[in-house]
């Protein structure tokens, strides 16, 4: 769509291994509008981190396109134009391993400034102080400390300051708070929300925590076995989840009050585990765990269909021939008949 800051079109990333091809990401499409917080949610092994790594350029995709501000950025990181690298940044899950333990925070923060030639030598120092200020760390106290000398939450704030050093417009957040305690997480999340308003940032927030997404995302997408299952605006996503996997996830969340209990969908008993992404069997990836799996689910992989204008779901139960997905549905129907 024009006007989107990022759009990912049928992205695939396969890794050949001795055991077979690992289909880590297998045909993912979504787009993010400026100012959004797009939540990409999935269990471990669903391919959400690989998606982020393709977008940031750590791997070139096997096929598919990544468009960033109207520019196609399929190339790996070292072959991307510098302005794209500065405009698209990432914060990783574990700040203990994403920050160099031998460098001071000043050295860590100065790297992006040097690479992108931002400011003069003196200007850089002021900029670093301003960055630390932005993430609510007193600059004089922290500038010369090493990452091990500070707490996990503070490290993540430094990682965030480093990501913001080049004035990006899109920041990928790959489970930025899942290694932290809730009270620290709350601090970081509030900081992220404030910075988003102040600096006009767009976030792609990768997480496994649906309760967190309820509070900060504008849209939520669920990923399972390399594919998206459901995309919807946050309120609609939590009020009327359609995909059986989404409902299983939502009903599995442990909550802390009766009001939340009432919001959860009827209990869907969780069974089985996510299958291996090596040699994925035909049909829907979720059919082995799906309580509503029918015959067709074991043979044909469903297509993404629209439930409403902004709510898409990839499930055979939601085939609505009278709706927008008419053409796709009839093709699917034909294929089904042939297979029968």
């Amino acid at each position: 769509m024009p006007g989107d800051i990022l759009s990912v079109d049928n992205l695939r990333k396969h890794f050949p291994t001795k055991e077979g091809v690992v289909r880590a990401v297998d045909g993912v499409s979504f787009s993010i509008a400026p100012g959004e917080t797009f939540g990409l949610v999935g269990e471990s092994g669903s391919g959400k981190t690989t998606t982020a790594q393709c977008i940031i350029g750590m791997y070139p995709p096997t096929s598919g396109d990544i468009w960033f501000k109207g520019e196609r950025i399929n190339a790996a990181f070292d072959r991307r134009p510098k302005h794209v690298k500065g405009d698209l940044r990432i914060v990783f899950q574990d700040p203990g391993s994403s920050l160099n333990p031998k460098r001071t925070i000043k050295q860590i923060l100065s790297v992006p400034l040097q690479v992108h030639r931002i400011g003069s030598r003196r200007g850089r120092l002021a900029r670093m102080k301003a960055l630390l200020d932005m993430v609510e760390l007193p600059a004089d106290e922290y500038l010369y400390k090493h990452p091990q000398a500070i707490g996990g939450g503070e490290r993540q704030m430094v990682a965030l300051a480093r990501a913001l050093a080049t004035n990006p417009s899109l920041v990928l957040l790959d489970e930025p708070t899942s290694a932290l305690d809730v009270s620290v997480q709350a601090k970081i999340i509030n900081l992220l929300i404030r910075l988003q308003k102040e600096l006009d940032l767009t976030y792609l927030f990768i997480t496994h925590d649906l309760s967190l997404m309820r509070n900060i995302a504008t849209r939520v997408a669920i990923m399972y076995l390399g594919k998206l299952c459901e995309i919807a605006p946050t309120a609609e996503f939590f009020e009327s989840p359609v995909h059986p996997y989404t409902r299983m996830l939502l009903s599995s969340i442990p909550v802390v009050s009766d009001e939340e209990e009432a919001l959860k969908p009827r209990k869907v008993l969780s069974t089985g585990e996510i299958p291996s992404p090596v040699n994925v069997p035909p049909g829907c990836g979720f059919q082995s765990r799906c309580p509503e799996a029918a015959d067709v689910c074991r043979r044909v992989d469903p297509e993404m269909v629209e439930v409403s204008r902004s709510h898409q779901v990839r499930c055979h139960r939601e085939r609505r021939p009278d709706r927008a997905g008419h053409a796709e549905a009839s093709v699917l129907h034909e294929r089904e008949e042939r297979l029968c």
């Binding site: 707490g151 809730v182 509070n215 802390v256 939340e260």
Partner: protein
């Protein structure tokens, strides 16, 4: 008499920089067939406490300064190594956060399960019939945890299993014997929510069948709410609040618990508060009096002087905070 009672436990670690005063007068108890939750953030001393109870704390560097851990009225800290072994064989057991570390990578699941069962029995015959009976018990213990295809799993190595499966093996190990007390230290922290849900449901059911007591240690309020009747909140080495789980979660009284509960993201989508200012204290020089006072919005002069005792606040609810003195 309570099944397990910890009285005024002080434990610390001697390190290069000095002495870390970690546990600072811990008091708690678990009744027979009771499920108790212990919630606290990273570094509050939860794991030190479990290790002290199991007598697996490395001493030194750790030092048990004073206190008692009474199991059926008998102090575990004063038992002979032989008595402690007997206790761990038959009476209490633990499940830890990382099942890959709890399982030996060099032996098959079957070998490990069989060894544990044999060790827990007084006399084991060497005859084929006993061996076969033990194997059958291992397989049924695995099946009880919802493990698919337990016969095949018996000949697998831990590395061949997924995280959820490994944790099932640990639960099978723990519950293959009829223990009275199960200590579960963050049993599902590394698992996905759908797997967590399966494991916790299974654990709940197995504990029910066996009539064992459980202490679940976690930082997830949701997990305790699902599984436990009573709850302790721990901060910086001591208990700050206790009561019926739902009661405490619905109306937390201690400023720390209140801060925690405000930080938990809710499905109702009401936004997230600012968390709790400051961070967990340095155990080399912990704050005097109530250890929470430097981060507390309601701190009074008395808070700096002495650690507050538990004050009753109705319906089994007790709070270690001077705000509730009257």
């Amino acid at each position: 008499m309570a099944l397990l009672e910890v009285v005024d436990l002080h434990v610390g670690y001697r390190v290069f920089e000095g002495y870390l005063k970690v546990l600072n007068g811990v008091n708690f108890e678990i009744e027979e067939q009771e499920r108790v939750g212990l919630v606290g953030e990273t570094g509050c001393g939860k794991t030190t406490l479990v290790k002290t109870i199991l007598r697996v704390l490395p001493v030194p560097p750790a030092r048990i300064q004073r206190g008692q851990v009474l199991y059926h009225g008998k102090d575990i800290l004063l038992m002979s190594p032989r008595e402690v072994r007997g206790l761990r064989r038959r009476e209490m057991t633990a499940i830890f956060q990382d099942p890959l570390q709890a399982l030996n990578p060099m032996f098959t699941i079957g070998t490990q399960l069989r060894d544990i069962l044999k060790d827990s029995q007084e006399r084991v015959g060497r005859g084929q019939r006993t061996q076969r009976a033990i194997t059958a018990r291992c397989i049924s213990a695995l099946r009880d945890t919802g493990m698919p295809d337990p016969e095949r799993i018996m000949s697998n190595y831990p590395i061949q299993l997924s995280g959820g499966m490994r944790q099932r093996v640990c639960i099978a190990e723990a519950l293959s014997r009829n223990v009275r007390l199960l200590l579960a230290d963050e049993p599902t922290t590394n698992l996905d929510v759908t797997i967590q849900d399966q494991i916790l449901r299974k654990l709940d059911q197995l504990v029910d069948q066996r009539g064992a007591s459980v202490l679940i240690i976690t930082h997830s309020m949701g997990v305790v709410r699902d599984l436990t009747q009573r709850l302790y909140i721990m901060y910086a080495g001591s208990m700050v609040e206790t009561g019926r789980t739902k009661g405490v979660l619905a109306s937390p009284l201690h400023p720390y618990t209140q801060g925690l509960m405000r930080s938990v993201p809710r499905l109702t989508g009401q936004g997230i508060s600012d968390g709790i200012p400051g961070r967990i204290p340095n155990y080399l020089q912990p704050p005097s009096g109530c250890r929470f006072h430097p981060r507390c919005a309601h701190a009074m002069p008395v808070c700096v002087e002495a650690p507050p005792p538990f004050y009753p606040a109705g319906d089994n609810h007790r709070v270690a905070c001077y705000l509730y003195r009257s």
